[in-house]
């Protein structure tokens, strides 16, 4: 935060740069302090902007919180790329979709911000749960045509989240350096069973 505040004062990054700086500062504040303790004033100071500008862009602290902890894809995108196609390849497409999201730096940063916030703030964890539900679990689950869709999709989530962390954050080998297609092949059977297989052991 100190580094951000020391940015050259003459530089005007433009609206999208300012918005991104506010979001980055908000993610740090919410992760460090939780929703209640975080303040628009402190976020504005960390982003080196006037508090009024924060409210101009985002409207309220709650709306800023929601924007800072946004999942970096829409339900339409995951349905389009995962649900459509041969049914016996659902697990592989789900794996490839998530790997492609993590492989884009901006989207990866957004996901890491969500995880970081969720490990420190119960408010952020609550919001992440709602967002995962509305962006991933429900839209894909509705298209499965299987009983226990919530259980099935939560099991998928429990694998995909861990793949992201071990591959992109903790860099455990060889998962960290496998080609996306090779890793998708390895985990597809587990995801496919969770989505369409028998869950009896």
């Amino acid at each position: 935060m100190a580094q951000r505040a020391q940015k050259r004062p003459g530089r005007r990054p433009g609206a999208s740069g300012t918005r991104a700086a506010i979001l980055a500062a908000a993610r740090t504040q919410f992760a460090d302090s939780g929703f209640d303790a975080a303040s628009v004033r402190a976020i504005a100071r960390a982003a080196d902007v006037d508090p009024a500008l924060v409210l101009h862009y985002f409207g309220s602290k709650a709306a800023l919180f929601a924007a800072a902890l946004e999942i970096p894809f829409e339900a339409d995108e995951i349905v389009e790329r995962v649900v459509h196609g041969p049914r016996d390849q659902l697990g592989r497409r789900l794996a490839l979709f998530f790997l492609s999201i993590w492989d884009e730096p901006a989207r990866r940063e957004a996901i890491m911000a969500l995880l970081r916030a969720a490990t420190t703030s119960a408010d952020a964890a609550d919001m992440l749960r709602e967002r995962i539900g509305e962006r991933v679990l429900r839209p894909v689950g509705e298209h499965l045509g299987e009983p226990d869709a919530a259980l099935r999709m939560s099991l998928c989530a429990s694998h995909l989240v861990g793949i992201g962390i071990t591959r992109y954050i903790v860099h455990i080998e060889p998962i960290a350096s496998l080609e996306p297609g090779a890793l998708a092949d390895l985990v597809a059977p587990a995801l496919q069973r969770y989505m369409t297989g028998s869950l009896d052991s």
Copy 2:
């Protein structure tokens, strides 16, 4: 080692409370600032103790970093509880072991501190990777008697880490409220395949 020191009988509760406060402050500092920027002085201030006391307990900043980011179990424990027993139940025992670790509040807090630090600090992520290797992947992998033990165990890690996060941090249902035995039954086939099955798709 930290675990053993805390369990030693006859310790003064004041000392263990101070030690815990220093560790908690160190986890926050390392997660926020990374190893290089964190200072023993700032950690001492956050824990409300003299910097000399931090060094008295931990010896050095590096040793404090290591203690703050300790995995809350020993390799012996996981080998004992996972490797020993029927081979076709390896996956289920691995799942039950991790659920039992997360179900203990002190151990859960240590794991959450590790994950929080790893999402913010590359130093912490490096240390977590080394620790997972020496406490989980290598000791269990050595006993598998399978080729590709590193790949197999990293795939297990990619599921187990995600189960912990979705169940205990983000609280995704129904995973969050399943009985440990029922959840272990659901994920055991995936873990068993990673440990002993064919990895060709």
